[in-house]
């Protein structure tokens, strides 16, 4: 069991807090510093030549989020980036909800198997998480393309005369996102369900509640922390996804990450890319706050536990 301890006088042999110092220093240099740099860059001017920034304060990158400038220098409202933000949030929400719908049955099903099976089944859910995201996304390039297995089967069986274009659509992006992050939803819900005493559900059932009612009134409230943790764990990485929209959306369904990548690549507008990143961080924080308010404390525990159950 987890042993809860607060810092007290060091006891022999248990090490000391300074054992963590090298790690903390490293993380400050390579996690905190990059975030700080991003915020700083977002208030600087773009370099005239090559990569990087010019050290001159401006809020221009944030203005560019909403306005575009014509060659004559006229500023006009431009919803392009707002639209991309909106799409990203929308796709991520849909992804989270689809994952939720798929995960509740499988998580509860696993939780009601005999204990020795559960470990194996959970392991089977985690394996895809540990394989390369690039390869998992590429799998859908194969599956969804015009002469891929799905279209092959549909045209081969005479259901369709022409292949149905699925690749390079928002649908493909969302399928890829669901596939990428599904384990993040199943695991926390399972972690909650595993601790739930199913005899309570049995009791309600014996007392005459229908299965649907038992599910809605007893089981789902019990796994609520897992559901909320799962929504966070899917929504946030989906929001920052680069690969699924890049390889499956085919440029037509750019999400924020693709626009950011373009600013640090061909467009060479680092300050604007930095401003977009800051907006992503703000969105992530807003999402975390919303979830935290909805969940109070329960889901943070759920999120931690599910991360640990992953390992």
């Amino acid at each position: 069991m987890a042993r809860r301890r607060t810092a007290s006088a060091p006891r022999a042999g248990q090490g000391s807090w300074w054992a963590g110092l090298p790690g903390i220093a490293y993380l400050i240099a390579l996690v905190l510093a990059p975030l700080v740099i991003i915020v700083i860059f977002s208030f600087l001017s773009r370099a005239k030549l090559g990569v990087g920034v010019k050290w001159e304060f401006t809020i221009q990158p944030y203005v560019e989020l909403f306005y575009s400038e014509s060659l004559s220098g006229e500023r006009s409202f431009d919803p392009t980036y707002l639209q991309i933000f909106f799409n990203s949030v929308l796709y991520s929400l849909i992804t989270a909800l689809v994952c939720l719908a798929l995960s509740i049955p499988i998580a509860l099903w696993i939780a009601t198997r005999p204990p020795k099976w559960r470990t194996l089944l959970v392991f089977l859910v985690t394996i895809p998480f540990w394989t390369s995201l690039l390869i998992r996304t590429y799998a859908f390039v194969i599956i969804l393309n015009d002469n891929g297995p799905i279209n092959g089967a549909l045209t081969g069986l005479g259901i369709l005369a022409e292949p149905l274009p699925m690749l390079y659509t928002p649908f493909a992006t969302i399928v890829g996102l669901v596939y990428s992050f599904l384990p993040f939803m199943i695991l926390p819900i399972y972690a909650s369900a595993e601790r739930f005493d199913f005899r309570l559900a049995e009791a309600a059932y014996d007392l005459g509640a229908t299965k649907a009612k038992v599910l809605r009134r007893i089981v789902l409230p019990a796994v609520r922390p897992g559901i909320i943790a799962g929504l966070i764990l899917v929504f946030i990485p989906a929001l920052g996804s680069y690969l699924a929209p890049e390889l499956l959306g085919g440029g037509k369904t750019s999400m924020i990450a693709n626009v950011i990548a373009a600013q640090f690549g061909a467009s060479r507008n680092w300050p604007f890319g930095a401003a977009l990143s800051v907006m992503v961080l703000v969105l992530v924080m807003v999402a975390l706050v919303i979830f935290a308010v909805v969940a109070r404390r329960s889901s943070r525990r759920g999120a931690n536990q599910s991360l640990e159950s992953l390992l």
């Binding site: 509860l108 392991f123 649907a212 992503v280």
Partner: protein
């Protein structure tokens, strides 16, 4: 949704949950099966099956660029594994003895790479390295990977540390062992399974990473996933599948070993 009752007396099975679970498992694995299956296709067009062949494996295994990418990936993954395990072991021990505020701060830093979208982390690190004029390439990638491998290395070590019976330290101290002896002779052996499991997880997380490597690769730092991405963008052949299959195989074998080690003797 109303369900008529009376079928079965036990609640063990909500109607449809079993079949849906089966469909979800199929959804999790069938895409990978296609990746593997088409790697044996003798046709150039991945999804048009012509016949069984191992030629794509021979093709990719003898390609010089791919060999270089594999060497880069192995180098990055090994070094960042060693570094992240060292930091994570220190953090696991240190976290237990930290004051509450320090622990919260350290924990947020450790977990941040898991919460921050990877693209933001990638371009932030890129901006940092360009600013301090640290050259892009394998070393830059290694440093960045080390940071986000730390949480993966840390969790199994921490889980292991929690199972340690504290009285064993006191016994050792009472018998006259000094701090260093206790660490070497007691803490380290007890943590060993956690450390090995954490190292294996860190290794695959680094090996499989694409986005951070992509932005930090510079001219000579192409890792295997970055190379595969280029292949997907340029010309998809079953060669992509063959390489992917090999990478999948490595990941699955390593995670299975890690899992077995972490569960043993709990």
């Amino acid at each position: 949704m109303r369900t008529p009752r009376g079928t079965g007396t036990s609640l063990k099975n909500f109607p449809l949950f079993g079949p849906i679970a089966a469909v979800v498992f199929a959804f999790l694995y069938i895409p990978l099966v296609f990746v593997v299956g088409y790697s044996f296709n003798s046709n150039r067009v991945v999804t048009v099956w012509k016949g069984f062949s191992l030629e794509w494996y021979a093709d990719v295994l003898t390609n010089d660029d791919i060999q270089r990418a594999v060497m880069n990936s192995l180098r990055v993954a090994s070094i960042s594994t060693v570094l992240s395990v060292l930091f994570a072991t220190g953090l696991a021990i240190g976290l237990l003895r930290m004051a509450r505020a320090g622990r919260t701060f350290a924990w947020s830093l450790i977990m941040a790479p898991l919460v921050i979208p990877e693209i933001v982390f990638a371009i932030g690190t890129l901006a940092l390295f360009v600013q301090i004029r640290f050259p892009l390439g394998v070393d830059a990638i290694t440093l960045a990977h080390t940071a986000f491998c730390i949480p993966f290395a840390l969790l199994p070590i921490r889980a292991r540390l929690r199972t340690v019976d504290l009285s064993i330290y006191e016994a050792a101290a009472d018998l006259g062992a000094n701090e260093w002896t206790i660490f070497r002779r007691i803490t380290l052996p007890l943590l060993a399974p956690g450390i090995v499991a954490g190292a294996l997880l860190a290794f695959i997380i680094s090996l499989d990473d694409f986005i951070v490597s992509y932005f930090l690769a510079g001219a000579g730092g192409t890792t295997l996933p970055v190379y595969i991405f280029g292949m997907i963008r340029n010309a998809i052949t079953p060669g992509v599948n063959a390489l992917s299959t090999l990478l999948l195989l490595v990941s699955v074998v390593i995670v299975t070993i890690s899992y077995i080690i972490a569960r043993r003797k709990r």
